[in-house]
Symmetry: C2
Subunit: 545 residues, 2 copies
Amino acid sequence: MREWNRLGLNKAERMERGAALAQGKVVPPARIGELLAQVIESGDRVCIEGNNQKQADFLASALAGLDPAVVNDLHIVQSVLALPSHLDVFETGVASRLDFSFSGQQSARLARLLSAGQLRIGAIHTYLELFGRYFTDLTPRVSLVCAAAADAQGNLYTGGNTEDTPVIVEATAFRRGIVIAQVNEIVDHVPRVDIPGDWVDFVVQSPRPHYIEPLFTRDPAQISEIQVLMAMMAIKGIYAEYGVKRLNHGIGFDTAAIELLLPTYAESLGLRGKIATHWALNPHPALIPAIEAGFVESVHSFGSELGMEEYIRARPDVFFTGPDGSMRSNRALSQTAGLYACDMFIGSTLQIDLQGNSSTATLGRVSGFGGAPNMGSDARGRRHGTETWLRAGREAGTGTMPRGRKLVVQMVETFREHMAPAFVEKLDAWELAETAGLDLPPVMIYGDDVTHILTEEGIANLLLCQNEQEREQAIRGVAGYTPVGLARDKAMVENLRDRGVIRRPADLGVDPRDATRDLLAARSMKDLVHASGGLYDPPARFRSW
Amino acid sequence: MREWNRLGLNKAERMERGAALAQGKVVPPARIGELLAQVIESGDRVCIEGNNQKQADFLASALAGLDPAVVNDLHIVQSVLALPSHLDVFETGVASRLDFSFSGQQSARLARLLSAGQLRIGAIHTYLELFGRYFTDLTPRVSLVCAAAADAQGNLYTGGNTEDTPVIVEATAFRRGIVIAQVNEIVDHVPRVDIPGDWVDFVVQSPRPHYIEPLFTRDPAQISEIQVLMAMMAIKGIYAEYGVKRLNHGIGFDTAAIELLLPTYAESLGLRGKIATHWALNPHPALIPAIEAGFVESVHSFGSELGMEEYIRARPDVFFTGPDGSMRSNRALSQTAGLYACDMFIGSTLQIDLQGNSSTATLGRVSGFGGAPNMGSDARGRRHGTETWLRAGREAGTGTMPRGRKLVVQMVETFREHMAPAFVEKLDAWELAETAGLDLPPVMIYGDDVTHILTEEGIANLLLCQNEQEREQAIRGVAGYTPVGLARDKAMVENLRDRGVIRRPADLGVDPRDATRDLLAARSMKDLVHASGGLYDPPARFRSW
């Protein structure tokens, strides 16, 4: 007779061991280490809620503090590695294996641990992909999540930064796993229930509010005039040209410049209501002036942004918020919107090769790409038409069967810091794959998904290229004075320009002399605060006044 | 001063009008029509929960019964049109516009209404795509959803068939929309909270339990020996060859035959534990013998299946279930797993053209494809490697940048019913697009996403084709005695066979004489019940004993 409830019986054993350390579901903070040691077993698959922004930092530290003689060989399945404690577990030997999406600031240390043999990496994922695996072959046995508040029944209030919590908890709770939540406070009644208490096994009040990172704030003071020029070209040559209404912006100053040019330059072109109306986007402070100018109809977010809470609360027609006034963000659903409901992804990159493959991977760092590969890829399962998507598809004109195409735009200055050329014959990703033992070179966006490359030299429309050779010359043609650019076939590039495959600022009617910072709807953090009517409250590090 | 809470103020007005008809959140069934007339306004975007299986039938009828003089011009955004009432709203004039995913049995009537000008179709979507739009430009203003039970606070218990409920409610509730749930019963305490009451405005007990359709049940008695042969070829030539562990099966007898051959034929090849371990799949009764034989490690489901409740409850190690024992299904997350965590999609189709484009669209029907385009497409945002995916990528060998590939297999007998050839020069989809005014021919799976075509004549591996001409001949080479098959270039097809691009049963070591129904692990519904230890309880229409 086969036992069909091994997971359930095993969970019951763990819960019995843990129950002695809790009052109902509530665990005293001082006993969290003991609790983890009782409910986690060696070899477990463990998910630490590591989001882009909010972090289950108290639980992550407690996990790192476990005795590896008692708990070891854990397999960590976690979307973002953001804190030192996220890697400490590998150094102490509590954990040995990792599947993740993005490592950001921990990427250099991760690379060192990897080459020292202190962990094995299963794979690097895009977010939505890792979430899909939570329901397939990477379901967590124990999840350590993070919320703003809980009640004694374990109902969780995640507040504005819901991020990954629902997807982690759902996968774990419904496969007989154990869900432990750290919360900033335990209250009698949560402002709204974001995660039902039935899905949560233990809650613990962390001694300090959870760590949160303002990841999406860009100070307008740092936007250069070259970025203003590129933003003008983007608006006139792509947004207006294709009538892009539904979109996602990557993080960075390039796209922040576009956001800040909507109420000025785009307004002057009569584009309000015609472009950039529906967004899958974190609440970027740089979008405030466009919202105030009536450009934006809706924003659905992956997470929130520190300091934007009161502004969001005061703009419920724009953001998805609950009856309590705080935002409901949900990375899985916003990534789905980014994949399937957006007509364009536009973002920056570090390196582009002659086939248009782009990557932000650099040597000595194993960082992953987060959501970019998902949003920056053509959704081949998409079936609904919009004018934007159909037009891009007509321009691509591949094969006998007509179809649409997502616009995937890579923005990059021809040289990045330290005069490193952004255009290269071969991506660093190849060498990184070699040294880190990856299956494939870590490409952020594959060349055949990229539709446009935008530099200060112009826009290369790769959709209109008829073969690989034209494509290479179109890329060289906007690569400026980089070696790749200098090696262009001048006649071919001129021909591509004549055909509108390459468009220079002049071809677009954009005068570089107009590209001044005066065009920015906000030129400083203070301007953003002002634009928000005082509702936006930037974190201290962004305040200089 | 711009008003930034128009949605909230408008909701408050609606709620005030509706409150008079309810006791708290509970609406008496007799007053549901009045309530809808009070809270729905003309021109609203309305989502009726129309799943594959469970239906908010009581609310759908009430909506269809509204006076079009009072409520009209509604825009229906609904995944499945399954019931007559789903189209009645267009006939009466209550609704005028439709965005949807799948119409199934209503597809012929839908086509008639369309040509009579009684509605306009925005677009036909795949499920995940429509869900993405719920958070972008198609957010419902009012959603009429369906659950098993509610308490007086509006907490919902969806039971096994969660399906679309969470995604619909989340999009509506957090954009100040109105959520109305019909439930089979109102109880003091729901067995588990699936949707928090904070997200639900009104509940109504329907006079009869909601309608539910057993969509995924296939009687093994109807599986033919040709289907057994094709299943053997699939298992030996694809599952074993690529070591496919994580997968999704389409609906139909072709894939049911594969499921029933796992514990017999696949077992005899020593494949237990090596293939078909992790599934994104509704709980197909045909999978019972494979589960009992220990083939299956986990199944995450889009919805449930009528009669499988007790079996699922008794197999919690395999299915995702809650503490109450019933399944947690969730279409959005299971589709995400199907897209990003599965290495293979295999399903049937009706027509395939010479480029490998396939479609189930036929003239006079506007049915849509549901989830197939999503699962049957290469996920270009995927970044994690598995042996299966990397091998398929190596075989495809496109370009200079290595990458993986999802296996997308189309299974089809060369002739379907009434001797209609499955292989055609031109898909009916072209003419359908013309007559129904669609933007593009409705292709289910595009040729460049298909990796293998499997017929009783053999397997064509399109990954290994080096150009369009080879691809066409590979398709002709498995098209048998259809006109497309007869027009093959014999020498080229033989060459493709020599190179392993086409593999006949003999090339695979499959003897058609072994392809008998005796190989099926269950040959009748009764056998399935027996295999389940009496836990599976088929609906009456599938019982002949």
